[in-house]
């Protein structure tokens, strides 16, 4: 499942970037999110769409959220919550 969460996230980044006419940086795990090429609106849309497709929103789930810094953190946050939600 972990692989498919990564795929889902990458495809949402790509789709939203295309819709918003943003140039997406290559999405390596080390890439800081601030440099991914998405602005906060695009980022907000990605989070909303992921909630629709995966049924989870890690940003709203916890009050003591460690805000992800890199793209890898972001994916890990979703994978972890998805595991917790399905086990």
């Amino acid at each position: 499942m972990a692989a498919s969460i990564r795929t889902t996230i990458i495809s949402q980044f790509e789709q939203v970037a295309a819709e918003q006419r943003h140039k997406l940086a290559s999405l390596t795990d080390e890439r800081p999110l601030m440099e991914s090429g998405l602005d906060s609106l695009a980022f907000a849309i990605v989070v909303a769409r992921l909630e629709d497709s995966l049924g989870i929103d890690p940003f709203s789930a916890s009050e003591e959220l460690q805000f992800p810094v890199t793209f890898g953190d972001f994916i890990h946050m979703y994978e972890k919550m998805y595991e917790n939600a399905t086990t």
């Binding site: 918003q20 906060s40 609106l41 980022f43 907000a44 849309i45 989070v47 909303a48 929103d57 940003f59």
Partner: protein, 467 residues
């Protein structure tokens, strides 16, 4: 003994003529106005209601219509309860309006509220002698539309309610009005009074009646003038029954009329004069726009010789005229008029060139990361798509920007009973494309959901959770 300063409703409608053709038509019966010359719907008990503060609460619009005609000038105050009125608020209304009589077609339901006089009202006129001499400039109390929670009561008189109505004879030929509205709300009451004072007839809608059945009745009765909200019309124009109708005049009011609904109405009724009007329970009837364009010319703000003054202050439309309500009823109610006598409508205006456009309600704003959006602006763009019948734009909570824009869309099926999935996806993509080319990025819906229907409030407006 009080003396009435202006003609009563009965006097005004009698002055317009009591020809046999003039009537009030319900689904199953109709009453000619002439019957009221020598009869009453209140049995022989009308005199008991003199000088009283009367709550008119009927399930049926015809019964209410007859009671209102009979009671103006007789009662000191009339409180108009629409059919959807929440009985939980009844004790508050009875106390605040100092009600000492209830007129109703369901007396058993209203006898337990401590009002001694609960008088049955019929949807038929019984022959008898009636004393219609008017003594009061009766207060007409209306509930504001879209009210949730404790109802806000607005005080009008027949004079403020009829300020925009031209007398009989100003229209050629027999006029038959119809409205999707409940006549106990401001928009419907205007049409009721217009029909009575202007010398016409009125076709009454019924809360449980399907739109297509109402349109078929309108066609059968030869309706010439018909009014409703843009939401009413978007639903009505979905019905093939609308095409059989050929009104001389079709009007939109109560919500923002966007270009798509104006154009759609005009193309469905090519012979009709299509108008959109601005009116509200508090501000009264302000103006009518007849040039077929959304919004209104900025020159309206500087019109001389008109008895309505308009101004824009803090981006909202303010109205001063003899047609505004007098005040809110109840202790501690806020003031309805500002120091200069203007009503703040709460409707936000945006100037584009020589025209003002309604942007939406103040307070109905979606805030996306600090950028403000009026849902109505986005809906107007979505509604331009030919496959779209109506849409609702809402705020969707978002952890990054606070909110993002979400849209629900009802598709126009036209002749096809169902649209295939491919067409739906293509339509969604086209809507987004239109939005992207017409709107700033933060206003473009982040998600579009196709729905079968959208909630409509009892006053015929699109249901907005925050409105």
């Amino acid at each position: 003994m009080p003396r009435r300063r202006t003609a009563s409703l009965w006097e005004s409608l009698a002055r317009a003529g009591l020809e046999r053709g003039r009537s009030l038509c319900a689904t199953d019966t109709s009453i000619t106005l002439a019957e009221l010359e020598s009869g009453s719907a209140l049995g022989n008990r009308l005199s008991e209601l003199r000088d009283r503060s009367v709550l008119v609460s009927t399930s049926d619009q015809l019964a209410a219509a007859l009671a209102l005609i009979e009671l103006d000038g007789i009662a000191r105050r009339l409180v108009l309860c629409p059919s959807d009125f929440d009985r939980a608020h009844l004790p508050y209304v009875l106390a605040t309006a100092e009600i000492d009589a209830i007129v109703t077609d369901t007396p058993a339901e209203l006898s337990g509220f401590g009002v001694a006089c609960v008088m049955p009202c019929h949807r038929a006129v019984h022959r008898q002698a009636v004393d219609r001499s008017a003594r009061h400039d009766t207060e007409w109390i209306l509930f504001t539309s879209g009210t949730t929670g404790v109802p806000k009561m607005v005080v009008h008189t027949l004079a403020t309610l009829t300020g925009a109505i031209k007398p009989a004879g100003s229209l050629a030929g027999p006029v038959v009005w119809a409205t999707f509205y409940d006549i106990r709300r401001y928009g419907g009451l205007q049409i009721f009074l217009r029909a009575l004072i202007g010398g016409g007839s009125l076709l009454l809608s019924d809360a449980g009646e399907p739109v297509s059945a109402f349109l078929a009745r309108a066609t059968e009765h030869g309706v010439t003038h018909i009014t409703g909200t843009p939401t009413h019309w978007r639903r009505a124009l979905m019905s093939p029954a609308a095409r059989a109708l050929s009104p001389e005049y079709a009007r939109l009011s109560g919500e923002i009329a966007d270009q798509a609904v104006i154009d759609h109405l005009q193309s469905t009724f090519p012979e009709a004069k299509v108008a959109h009007a601005f009116a509200s329970t508090e501000a009264g009837v302000a103006f009518e726009v007849t040039d077929g364009q959304a919004g209104f010319p900025s020159s309206f703000l500087a019109r001389d010789g008109d008895d309505v003054d308009l101004k824009v202050q803090d981006d909202t439309l303010r109205i001063r005229s003899s047609r505004t309500a007098l005040r809110y009823l109840g202790d501690g109610s806020e003031s309805l008029l500002d120091a200069e006598g203007f009503v703040d409508t709460g409707d936000v205006l945006e100037r584009r060139g020589e025209r003002y456009h309604f942007a939406g309600r103040r307070g109905g704003i979606i805030n996306v990361g600090g950028l403000k959006i009026h849902p109505e602006e986005v809906e107007a763009v979505i509604n331009r798509h030919p496959n779209v019948r109506m849409s609702l734009v809402t705020a969707r909570k978002n952890p990054i920007t606070g909110a993002i824009v979400a849209a629900e869309v009802v598709l126009a099926l036209g002749a096809e009973p169902c649209i295939d999935a491919l067409t739906v996806e293509r339509t969604k993509a086209e809507i987004l494309e239109t939005c992207r080319s017409a709107l700033a990025a933060h206003k473009v819906p982040a998600s579009i959901r196709i729905v079968n229907a959208l909630a409509v409030t009892p006053s015929g407006k699109l249901g907005r959770r925050n409105a």
